[in-house]
Symmetry: C2
Subunit: 293 residues, 2 copies
């Protein structure tokens, strides 16, 4: 079976490599062609457009940056749908808008092409170790066809409902994380001001009702002044923007998400957009003129 | 060795009972005397004032409602310090203000009495099962004397620094929880609006970067429409009030905590103060005219 892979950044490179190593022939495309070198070295054929990828493939995956990129890649001239064959399947793993996922699903269906939205969580490490969580929206029939390939990429995989429901699930995930990060950062900042040993703090509160992945992992990175990106602030701001827009569309007020978004924008304003989400600590330290960096 | 116990509510009853069962003679006091019946049935002597408790005890514990109660009990006429003997030790386990803990420590020290602030987390179940986390502020010497008794009440016990540092640790804990709860509630509410199965949502996002005690425990209670108090909203509002006042005193702006506090006040405004903190879901549903109850 031939697969296509569009978007060969940190995530896409690791994910596509897993499939190639299992024997799939891969046709790959990236806007910046040099970024396909790694996969080419594994035997992938480099294509010059998304349409060329889809014309050669039975299943086409994509994981790119922004919803606008997803739209271009699927619906643009020389896009995936322009080249895709009847009976093929397209799987967008970008974190993007539910509305766009529904639109692509409909246009694909008209051409007898299966479509899933399948955003992931777990970051670069999850991609490398094939331990991603994969949140899928679309038809059960298509899901069942693709499931064996998803299992080569992740370990926690669920069909959450029809088209767009994978994206909605990812939005819920990001909404939970947004305010959780605010709580972690504020709790640690309070501790610093109050003269507590932050490591001892996480030792004692990180096992009880305050426990979270954010506290026990990103909190420790904050304490160690490690602000390297596991997940970029600029990407988190994109995701929160999508979630806020979807919530507005559903007539849903989410004050915590709105505040978290504003705080992350303030982080971006002082030049932290290419650091990890835990660098919100630096932004709140800055607001408070606390030495946090 | 004789112990005193002031405050025989849900927490105090379970905690004092552990000590009585290990052979300590207990002198107990509660403002509402009828609430001492359970401990009296275990052999505790019921006293008519905090001073009578302290005059009969080597180590005096307290766990009551509000900082004003702590102040009355320790510093009032017929208070603990009025009756306490030289060389005794006083341990306040109420979640109260760091400033009050420092004040009691100083007044106690003048009378050659050891003092610790030792608030707990883990709730009624932690008290019953002796699995509380105990966050202690005060002198190391006093801490080491009391540690064997703490070990009968909890399993995660740490001296966090001098007087008040136990309370500061508890405040950090509550600050982390406050915004984490906002994130959990907003994520679940978004999911409801988007038509997701909330249990499937927690199944898939509750293992990754969004994982928290709040999501995996209180989130499940929300989904099951169980809003019974593990921890009362009215007590959480008290704690957030203390944390905000302490932060203001330290010139520290914590916008996430301030928002969480306002949202919990709105929950109280619609009569939810005697439900558990997870009932914030009902308040946010109410704001959004979503059926959340």
């Amino acid at each position: 079976m031939k697969i296509g892979w569009i978007g060969t950044g940190v995530m896409g490179n690791s994910m596509c490599a897993h499939l190639i190593k299992k024997g799939y022939n891969a046709f790959v495309y990236n806007r910046t062609e040099s970024k396909t070198q790694f996969l080419a070295s594994l035997g992938a054929k480099v294509c010059s457009s998304p349409a060329e990828v889809s014309n050669n493939s039975d299943i086409i995956f994509s994981i790119v940056g922004y919803p606008a990129d997803v739209k271009d890649i699927y619906l643009g001239d020389n896009g995936v749908l322009a080249g895709a064959r009847h009976g093929s399947n397209i799987i967008d793993m970008t974190t993007s808008t539910p509305a766009l996922a529904e639109k692509i699903y409909k246009e694909a269906k008209n051409k007898n092409i299966g479509s899933l939205d399948a955003p992931v969580s777990g970051g670069d490490i999850g991609a490398k170790e094939a331990t991603l969580s994969i949140m899928v929206g679309g038809d059960e029939e298509t899901f069942n066809k693709i499931l064996p390939l998803f299992k080569l990429l992740g370990k926690n995989i669920a069909l959450m409902g029809g088209p767009g429901k994978g994206q909605h699930t990812k939005m819920s995930n990001q909404i939970v994380i947004a305010s959780t990060m605010v709580g972690v950062v504020e709790g640690l900042l309070y501790a610093q001001k109050a003269g507590l040993d932050q490591n001892k703090l996480v030792d004692i509160i990180g096992q009880g009702a305050a426990a979270s992945f954010s506290l026990n992992n990103l909190g420790r990175r904050i304490i160690n002044k490690n602000f390297d990106p596991g997940f970029f602030i600029k990407h988190f701001i994109k995701d929160m923007g999508i979630a806020l827009e979807e919530a507005r569309r559903m007539n849903l007020s989410l004050p915590g998400l709105a505040l978290a978004n504003q705080l992350y924008i303030s982080a971006s304003a002082i030049g932290l957009e290419n650091l990890g989400t835990q660098a919100l600590y630096k932004a709140l330290s800055h607001i408070n003129s606390v030495k946090g960096d």
